[in-house]
């Protein structure tokens, strides 16, 4: 592999955002929004509202025809975005629209085929050009990621791979080593969607990722309220909220996203034990 290091190690935008939160004695808040739901403009406005109300990192999802890791709420939102004519290249408009107005690290969460179709290098170039921090890849494992490893090195992008309760110690190590920015710890064996309680497996996954050498571990799947945020913030570096924000933007628009974010962020501060 003949890659060019344009970005020195340690310049991860995601890691920097998490470290800023850590310096304030709290976990980072990561909010997810699907691009183009209910419109591209609304996604940008909601992303800015997320950043202004306490989110440190923002995940912008690319609507995809076959979202196998998503539950009904996010499926419905992304299906609607596609029906309204969303095109993949518009995700760069969303990223640029948010990064030009805020300091939040903006990652794109995408199933892999849209990236393959555009070309991994070209997608990465455009994402970096739009000010994006990197990619979260729910159906790409490090074993298949050689092209993405090269492109992310070349353009200085973060590679956020997922680890799960089912990950063996060997896979945990391999995934942690391949990741940059943070490691996404899946809290439960399942798909996205609000759940009434956080699985006890989450804490174990975070511990296993740390044991494998991860510096930054954020927890997602099933987190929807400040109480759950508080519970996870006690042991993780960041808390990821998706479905609840999608419900908020669908029901109450940008204002609802702003107020939910404000509420979620009250759970971030770690109480002294």
């Amino acid at each position: 592999m003949n890659h060019v290091e344009l970005t020195p190690q340690g310049a991860s935008k995601s890691a920097a955002a998490i470290d800023r939160a850590k310096a304030q004695g709290r976990a980072a808040l990561i909010g997810y929004l699907p691009a183009g739901y209910p419109s591209v403009e609304a996604t940008i406005a909601a992303g800015i509202a997320l950043a202004e109300n306490g989110a440190d990192l923002i995940e912008i999802g690319i609507p995809y025809s076959d979202p196998v890791m998503d539950g009904l709420v996010i499926q419905a939102a992304t299906t609607e975005a596609l029906a309204k004519g969303f095109h993949v290249k518009q995700v760069f408009d969303v990223v640029r629209g948010i990064t030009s107005k805020t300091d939040a690290a903006v990652l794109v969460m995408t199933y892999w085929n849209p990236v393959v179709r555009m070309g991994v290098d070209e997608f990465s170039r455009q994402l970096a050009d739009a000010g994006g921090a990197g990619l979260i890849t729910p159906d790409l494992i490090p074993d298949e990621a050689s092209e993405w490893m090269a492109a992310s090195d070349k353009y200085g992008l973060d590679r956020v791979f997922l680890v799960a309760p089912s990950s063996s110690p060997e896979r945990m190590k391999r995934t942690v080593e391949a990741s940059r920015g943070f490691v996404y710890a899946v809290s439960i064996m399942g798909v996205t969607g609000a759940r009434t309680s956080v699985s006890s497996a989450a804490k174990d996954v975070v511990a296993a990722a740390r044991a494998a050498g991860a510096e930054h571990v954020c927890v997602g799947l099933g987190v929807s309220n400040a109480e759950q945020v508080r519970e996870i913030a006690a042991y993780a570096d960041g808390v990821i909220v998706g479905t609840a924000l999608v419900v908020a933007i669908g029901d109450g628009g940008v204002d609802a996203v702003a107020s939910l974010t404000k509420d979620l962020s009250t759970g971030l501060t770690r109480e002294e034990a």
Partner: protein
């Protein structure tokens, strides 16, 4: 497997890359995955990787375990009814340039198609892994019925995901699955088709992987599924090779099969991949014509991408979104294809061509009327292709009389009882006032 050595007639002298490949001493039959050239792999959520590892490990150990291979052989013989027959179709062949045509009769298996080979194997593996529940996807219901059958036989709980639209159109197959003790869950999200049924099965699997095996119905998906599903279907090619040698004393000039995901095809192809004299053809669903956009000709018109766990040819738009496929045959109506087929297409070992709905239905009727066999509409695509291949071989043979020296083997992957309503509507056989006419308009099975 013991390979009979025969003097195969030379099939031209093209020095293709494949010939070089074969002469280099490498075997195309030895294809354990995870990759087939640049295709295959595991494009899957991390949550499922441990389950895929467990399945791969169990499968590899089972293959090497005489007890397991004996179990499979016993079930094939005494439950499925194997070996399936090899029948020469003499009257049908008169319409294919006068070559000889032989049908591998997978339609005679229990449950009426090749699908039983795979479900019995995977259900046994599920038991070996200590799983108590199997889930499956189905389009028209054939794989769902086969899965429900295997689950009933082995005492496993069975849940089948099926597009809501398909459930309505195939109400009798839903009833069949329920009679066999399975639960059928209609899938209402996405395009409500087979690919969405697969998506929903994957979501179930992620959440229930400790107790559940995903009994995937075709030779696609993440490793080890393509190699494993093929393994259970290789019996088709092994039997057919021995049977054609026994009946004719030589190898066929061509082997034909239909391709949806491609499981029946890869099963029969594997018997002949390493025989350079045998030309191999896969016939995809050309739907209303590949120029109309309403088809399922994945290899003919698709581009490589990743879907449902594997890199392979894929029907997709410029954004990488999956395009809905169309075919009169529900079993071929899938926008992806098994990764090994993509590889065999790229290296030129197998030729993939589209067959339109109308060509398939003509062949369907022809087989009914010349041989007294009602084929599945899926298999009718292979029959239509065999007519074209036969006519080409006859033309190559030149002088009249030589065509009869040419042999074409067709995998008759399933029987057409399930397709009677569709065919009756297509050929306008139903009284316009009959209740059957109303039912057939909905694609229902009689």
């Amino acid at each position: 497997m013991v390979r009979l050595m025969v003097d195969a007639p030379a099939a031209g002298s093209d020095e293709s890359a494949v010939d070089a490949f074969l002469q280099g001493g490498e075997s195309l039959r030895h294809a354990p995955g995870p990759y087939f050239g640049s295709y295959g792999g595991r494009w899957m959520p991390e949550s499922l990787i441990a389950a895929l590892d467990e399945l791969e490990d169990t499968f590899e150990k089972a293959k090497a375990d005489p007890e397991f291979t004996a179990q499979i052989a016993e079930l094939n013989k005494n439950y499925s009814g194997r070996p399936s027959l090899l029948t020469e179709a003499k009257r049908f062949a008169e319409h294919a340039g006068g070559v000889r045509i032989f049908l591998k009769r997978e339609d005679l298996n229990h449950t009426g198609s090749h699908k039983i080979n795979n479900v019995l194997g995977q259900a046994l593996l599920a038991k070996r892994m200590g799983k108590t529940r199997v889930i499956a996807e189905t389009g028209a219901g054939q794989h769902g019925v086969a899965s429900a059958t295997a689950a009933a036989l082995m005492g496993l709980e069975c849940v089948v995901y099926m597009g809501a639209e398909d459930c309505r159109r195939q109400a009798l197959n839903v009833a069949r699955m329920e009679l066999l003790g399975a639960t059928v869950i209609p899938v209402t999200n996405g395009s409500q088709t087979l690919k969405d049924a697969i998506n929903e099965a994957l979501r179930d699997w992620v959440a229930n992987v400790d107790t559940t095996h995903y009994l995937l119905g075709t030779a696609a998906g993440a490793h080890p599924f393509p190699a494993m599903v093929r393994y259970f279907h290789e019996v088709i090619g092994e039997e057919a090779r021995a049977q054609i040698l026994e009946q004719t004393g030589r190898l066929p000039d061509a082997v034909c099969a239909c391709i949806g995901g491609g499981s029946n095809a890869i099963g029969i192809f594997h018997g002949f991949l390493d025989d350079p004299s045998v030309k191999i053809y896969g016939f995809e669903a050309g739907g209303e014509g590949v120029e109309t956009g309403r088809h399922a000709a994945t290899i003919t018109l698709g581009k490589p991408g990743v879907l449902h766990g594997a890199r392979s040819y894929l029907m997709q738009d410029d954004d990488g979104q999956t395009i809905e496929s169309h075919s009169i045959s529900a079993g071929l109506d899938y926008p992806g294809v098994g990764p090994e087929h993509s590889y065999l297409a790229d290296i030129g070992r197998v030729s993939y061509e589209p067959i339109t709905d109308s060509e398939a239905m003509d062949a369907f009727r022809l087989l009914c009327r010349t041989e007294g066999i009602i084929p599945a509409i899926e298999s009718a695509h292979a029959l239509a292709g065999a007519i074209k291949v036969g006519q080409r071989l006859a033309a190559e043979a030149g002088a009249a009389g030589k065509a009869a020296d040419k042999i074409v083997l067709v995998n008759l992957s399933g029987r057409g009882d399930k397709d009677v309503a569709t065919a009756a509507e297509w050929f306008d056989l139903l009284d316009k006032d009959s209740p059957e006419h109303e039912i057939a308009k909905e694609g229902e099975q009689l």
